[in-house]
Each structure stands twice: as C-alpha cells, then as structure tokens.
Symmetry: C2
Subunit: 317 residues, 2 copies
C-alpha cells in the first residue's frame, strides 16, 4: 500500500513497485494544490482509494498489506504558515488516526514513513546527521516532526516495525510544476521549460543537496529492511550545490532563453528560511548500502526529457 500514491514521490514509488511485480493499492485524498493526480499513475493497474489516511475506510485496504509506504502529507512550508491547522491535520493528526487503524487491523505490517529534513530547522553544523537537534522553523517542520515521532512511538511502545525517512529536496518526473509553494526545484524547472527567468531569492550562494526521485524511491524500498525498524534515517545527496549553480544547470539543460536572475527575499519566505543545508545519509548507507546514484546533471537531463514528453505538467492546475 502506498499512501499519497497519486502525488509526486508516491506515484514514482507506485510505478517502481508495479514494475517490480508487486500488487499495489493506493490511498490518496487528492487535496487540491498538493500535486496528487490520476495522471501520475495513468495506465497502471492499481486500486485507488480516494480518502484521507485517517478515514476508517483505509482499514479494509490496510488489513491485507504486507508493506505500507506512508507518504501522505502536505509539503508546502508557505502553506503551513498560512493555515497551520490544516498542516497539523494532514501531517500529524491524520497520521495518528492512520497508526491507530494500522495497530487495530495489521500491526505487523512493515511500514516506511516519509519525513523531511525541514524538521532540523537551521543547521548548526553540516552535513546534518540524525542526531542534529530538531528545531523546526515553520509549522510544516513542527507537524512533520510530530508525524514522524508518532510513528517511532508506535514502533517502540507497540512493537510495530516502522521506519521514518527524513528526505532532502527531491526533484524529477511527476512533480507538480505549476505551484510556487512546493519548494524551489519545481519552480526552477517550470520557468526554464517555459523560457522564463528563474528568480533566485538572495544572492544564490545558499546550498542544497538535491536528490532525484528515483534515488528516493530506492531509499524508501531499501528502508523496508527489518534492521531499520524503529529508526529515523536521513535520505539526501552527498553533493550539495549552490542555488545559483542549480539554476544554471537547469537553464543549460533546457536551453532556456529566460536565464536566471537574483531578487530580494520575499519576507514570508525569508522568515522561515533555513540557510544552507547538506544531508549526512551515512546511517542509511552503512545499514543497507543505499547510495544516491544519479548525479544532478544526469538527473536534471532526465527530468527535462520527462516534462518535454508530457507537457500536461506545465498546464495542470
């Protein structure tokens, strides 16, 4: 089972699982603006239950699952500040309800939950390993941390085999490109694909480690290893790049005539900015051998090819 299976990472995971001969069921609430769409899994033979993960209807699907990939959630930092209650609902409360459903009908299912590096807040040291303090700077970070820690409480107090992964910035096919509120990567791709200028907040020296969604899918599947039950692990790239370099790379890959420019930070973004970030994924790599395989140049080229071949992503709302 994949929750959030119609969304960006969830649909890529679903494609991979179907290709690996798994029988897959998807749960997705199709929250407007979050990027979930039937288009993302068009042509795949999967059952889709359209409801929130806290809905008691999920029990019927959960009952038979061997592995549960719990990817449902809201990712927008900006939206979380505009509507804190909705973010808490989608990233924490519904996960508590989901875990109760799971505990009631299938407590031995292997579970992988996706959290975010946003839980760390502003790094005091980099690269950031799992023992770095978690001091979120926005409601999204608070709510995702609560959702993640709920999973770990259930793992320990109820002996359920659950793992949570803190994901870095992810890019690749099937991401919602038409929103300005889901992180900088889809915006950069959209502007370049439309030959419009990429606007970089600040001076472009801020750094991020970006991961192609295929590498993330590999990490999520690798995290089903039983040795990781009860653990929280980072998933990121060992290579970080400046936002200026990332923009240039995307402009070069697309041949965009829009180029990129530097603009002052919008106040509502700056107040929740975390500065530069680089992920230390040593714990996951050491435990199960996972490593990022796709470098940024290849990943960007693959991503551009995908969106050139499916222009729906540039027009969907």
């Amino acid at each position: 089972m994949v929750t959030g299976g119609l969304g960006f990472i969830g649909s890529n995971l679903t494609h991979a699982l179907v290709a690996a001969v798994a029988s897959v069921a998807v749960i997705d609430a199709l929250v407007p603006g979050h990027g979930g769409s039937d288009h993302n899994i068009a042509g795949l033979d999967v059952d889709v239950l359209r409801c929130e993960i806290g809905d008691p209807a999920v029990r019927d699907v959960l009952r038979d699952a061997d592995v549960v990939f719990n990817l449902a959630g809201q990712v927008s930092h900006i939206d979380s500040m505009d509507d804190p209650l909705l973010d808490l609902h989608l990233n924490a409360t519904t996960h508590a309800a989901f875990l109760e459903h799971l505990r009631a009908v299938n407590p031995t299912a292997r579970v992988v939950h996706t959290s975010t590096r946003q839980v760390y807040g502003v790094p005091t040291t980099t690269p950031v390993a799992e023992d770095h303090p978690a001091h979120p700077v926005d409601v999204n970070g608070v709510a995702k941390l609560a959702g993640e820690q709920l999973h770990i409480v259930y793992a320990n107090a109820h002996s359920m085999p659950i793992t949570s992964l803190r994901l870095t910035n992810v890019y690749g096919p099937r991401q919602r490109l038409t929103s300005d509120r889901l992180g900088f990567l889809p915006v950069f791709f959209r502007m370049a694909l439309l030959d419009q200028p990429i606007r970089i907040f600040g001076d472009g020296t801020q750094r991020r480690d970006c991961l192609h969604v295929s590498d993330v899918v590999d990490a999520i599947v690798a995290a089903t290893d039983d040795r990781l039950a009860g653990q929280v692990l980072n998933v990121g790239s060992p290579r970080d790049e400046s936002l200026g370099s990332i923009a240039k790379l995307i402009v070069d890959a697309t041949g965009s005539t829009g180029g990129f420019t530097f603009v002052p930070w919008p106040p509502e973004q700056q107040r929740i900015d975390i500065g530069s970030f680089r992920t230390d994924s040593t714990r996951l790599s050491s435990a199960v051998g996972w490593q990022a395989k796709i470098d940024l140049t290849d990943g960007v080229a693959d991503t551009v090819d995908f969106y050139r071949g499916d222009p729906w992503y540039l027009s969907s709302t």
Copy 2:
C-alpha cells in the same frame, strides 16, 4: 490571562497573580478527568471563560491581556496512548488555533507556555539540559513537543515574545489526587493520606527531581522576562530522589499506616517509561536568577497540610 487556570498549576498561578494585585482572566475547558475545577479558585475575584483555547471566543479576552500564561493541556501519558487524537487536539492543534487568535488580536502580549520534560524521552545523559535530544516515548511527549515548537515558530517567524518551559514532575496543593493517570506524585499523596499502601512500580530505585508548585509558579512568572523570548527552558529541581525515598518521605509526613510496597510494572506503564530523570535548569537560573526554594521535605509537609485542611481533594471525581 491564564489558560488552564482552573487546573493544578494554573490555579496556583492564578492565586499568586491575584495576591500580587494583578487583574486575572482565566480560560479553562474543564475537560473531564484533567483536574480543572472551580473549587481550585474558590473565593478569588477572576473572570472565567469556559471553553477550549482554540475557540474564537478567546479573542475577546486575549485582546486586553498584557501577559498570557498558556498552561492548558493534557498531562496524562497513559491517556495519550489510549486516545492519541484527543491528546494531539488538546496539546497541539488547539494551541495552533490559540496562537493564531493571539497573532490576530494581540501579537505583542508576553506569553509563557508550559511544556514538559516528557519531550526528552529516555535520557542518554543526566542531568538533562535543553540541548538533550527530544525523542518522546509516548503520544503526550510528541504532542507537547509539537505545541511547544509551535510557540517557538510563532516567536521567531512572527516576532512574538513567547517563552516555553519544560516542567519536571510537580506536586503541591490543588492537584487532582483521585486519578491514577496523572503521574505518580498525586497517587502517592492520596494513598498515604488514606492510610493505604503506596504501590511503587519496580524496585523503587528510579529517580525523579520533583518540584513544589510554588517554585513552578515562581519560574513561570520569572519567565516573563523579555530576555527569554523565543527560548525553551527547563524547570526542575537540582535534587533528585529515588521513588522509594519519595514514598517513604510522604508516608513519614502523613504518618500513613499503609506504608509502601513494590509491585511489578504494569505493561502499559512500562512501555512508555523513561527510567531515571534529573533536570538541569542552569539556563533559567543563569538568565533570571530563578531557583527552586522548597526542599522536598518541606514541600511534602506543606502539601499534606493543605490536603488535610481541604479533604475535598480526596473525594472529588
């Protein structure tokens, strides 16, 4: 304004504020079983609004407040595991709504929120300072951590002068004695006052630092110092004691004929137990000079005197 002002710590704070000539308004949802009662502030001239802190009705009271003491919440670890959604509602979601109300009508009010040492989970080192990792072992710890971190997000992102205090185990007058689900201290006092045996889980060597509610009230008032805005600080006692010693002290103070006995851990308690704990409150002491003044022997004697003088606490439900 004091939220949770009809409860244990909130009512003691309200008594202290009224004695210090402050004009006090109380908000309390009187959630059954939590210990909130009009009895706790009987005879005091304060306005009481009976609703949840997320209710829009609080805006009328918030608008005029100079200082907001946000003490509302659920404290029971056991209840949080039985009803995770209610705990998240009372300790996190309603606080997000409350902060939105505050931001809308009175963003410059000085705010002190009470969190808990339960957010740390099992200590890896003692004494536990604020930079100790927060790995809660139960839903209560997760939800309180989320509520606390929401306050800090509002302090930083919205420049609101907010402080959160992580409180250790608190005892003293006006605590609900008739529940077995609000920590060990009220149970120990009740059993001793009723000449019934105090039952200690395990071998009694587990240690806690306990704080008299008067010291906690002093810390909460001291935390209104503007230099503490945006900070999370511990509030505990520098002296820790074994549960066996604490039981003996209470038995001696009451002259209880029930004594105390050791019993095996109930599974539902053991699965969320954190072992021994001792708080490092150096940050608060250094910043504003607060220190615990009441040693455990004197505090227990005062507490026993209080309940002997007001037997309502042994019969209220």
